[in-house]
């Protein structure tokens, strides 16, 4: 495998390829880039109950479920076949800031000290998996989209509500990292 594939990709190559997802999906069949919708389709397909929000023809939106299934497979291919297996490089200031919180930069994509099964039934697991995941699912649906649907698809089509949503995504992230993390890591 050539080195330009196995090394981490630059922001401009990655960004351009992600940007091309928008016209690719539109031209393949009038599909709108947006990944958080898949979570709703999963609800609609598996346990719609009598909730009107989940009673629609999810089969028409099944392309979205094929897309996310592809993401899982593509990520597995990338780490197993298109990687140079070098540690992930993190900005020195971030390494330092995380170290002050007790999170080691271990060269993985996600810190093993947080993302491992032994944390599932701990306070750490409750915060990082259960609460964090819940906020991602609840927040994206309430906002009407996520980073793909609002920040990339919405901004690409010049929708100002998507700009508002994107600014709020960033504000929420900044707030939790700077205001909540310092004391959160003291108690977990």
């Amino acid at each position: 495998m050539p080195e330009f594939i196995t090394q981490p990709w630059s922001w401009y190559v990655s960004g351009a390829l992600i940007g091309l997802t928008v016209p690719a999906l539109l031209l393949l069949g009038n599909k709108h880039f947006g990944i958080s919708s898949s979570l709703r389709h999963i609800c609609a397909a598996c346990f719609p109950g009598k909730v009107p929000f989940f009673n629609y023809n999810w089969k028409r939106e099944a392309w979205n479920l094929f897309f996310v299934a592809g993401i899982v497979a593509g990520a597995a291919l990338a780490v197993n076949f298109f990687s140079n297996h070098q540690p992930v490089q993190v900005a020195p200031q971030t390494v330092q800031a995380l170290s002050a919180l007790g999170v080691a930069t271990d060269g993985n994509l996600v810190p093993h000290s947080i993302f491992n099964f032994s944390n599932v039934f701990t306070l750490k697991g409750l915060v990082f998996f259960v609460v964090g995941g819940f906020l991602v699912g609840f927040g994206t649906r309430y906002a009407g989209g996520c980073t793909s649907g609002h920040s990339i698809m919405g901004l690409s089509t010049l929708q100002w509500p998507s700009l508002v949503a994107t600014v709020c995504f960033m504000a929420g992230g900044f707030a939790v990292v700077h205001l909540v993390f310092p004391w959160l890591f003291k108690i977990i």
């Binding site: 990655s14 960004g15 539109l26 979570l39 979205n64 899982v72 497979a73 990520a75 990339i152 929420g172």
Partner: protein
């Protein structure tokens, strides 16, 4: 504040079947597997890009929210510029879909969920280091414990579906 009807692309399609839904605007009939297999292919490409660009890394998200690296801003910024130029070209030259249909785009209507939901998602993004796409990619990359995060995200979406009408929009 909750009086305004919620713009909802999918249920709208159920109540008024003639209306196109955002998400899928193709008119030509599609089979469940045969027509959708190409989106599996697109997803595979996206998953590879998501890993190779390291946007699925919890550390990269930390760098972004700490303003210690340009990487994430570069990725998202470039994606928006390339996406916007592509959409402009599609409209300018009236490029048709593979099925020969006109590309349909939907205006987004502002509602307070953009703000409140946006902030809540941002908090979740900061904690998990993943938006929905990277959740799937993290699982594929071998962080199997993220399955729990994904299940919780599905639960969050489900709870939203139940309480939707009671929330300010």
């Amino acid at each position: 504040m909750a009086t305004k009807p919620i713009h909802d692309e999918f249920t709208e399609q159920v109540t008024t079947p003639d209306e196109c839904s955002a998400g899928n605007d193709q008119v030509a009939k599609e089979s469940l597997v045969g027509s959708n297999i190409k989106y599996l292919g697109m997803g595979i490409l996206f998953g590879i890009i998501a890993v190779k660009s390291e946007i699925i890394s919890w550390y990269r998200i930390q760098e972004m929210f700490r303003l210690h690296s340009f990487h994430m801003y570069g990725v998202i910024g470039t994606a928006v510029v390339v996406g916007a130029i592509s959409v402009w070209l599609i409209k300018r030259f009236k490029i048709k879909t593979l099925q020969g249909e006109t590309v349909v785009l939907h205006p987004r209507q502002f509602h307070w969920g953009n703000v409140i939901g946006g902030l809540l998602f941002g908090i979740g993004w900061g904690i998990t280091g993943a938006c929905p796409g990277p959740l799937f990619a993290q699982i594929g990359s071998g962080s199997l414990v993220v399955v729990i995060t994904l299940l919780s995200a599905i639960a969050g979406t489900y709870v939203y579906g139940i309480v939707q009408k009671k929330l300010p929009h």
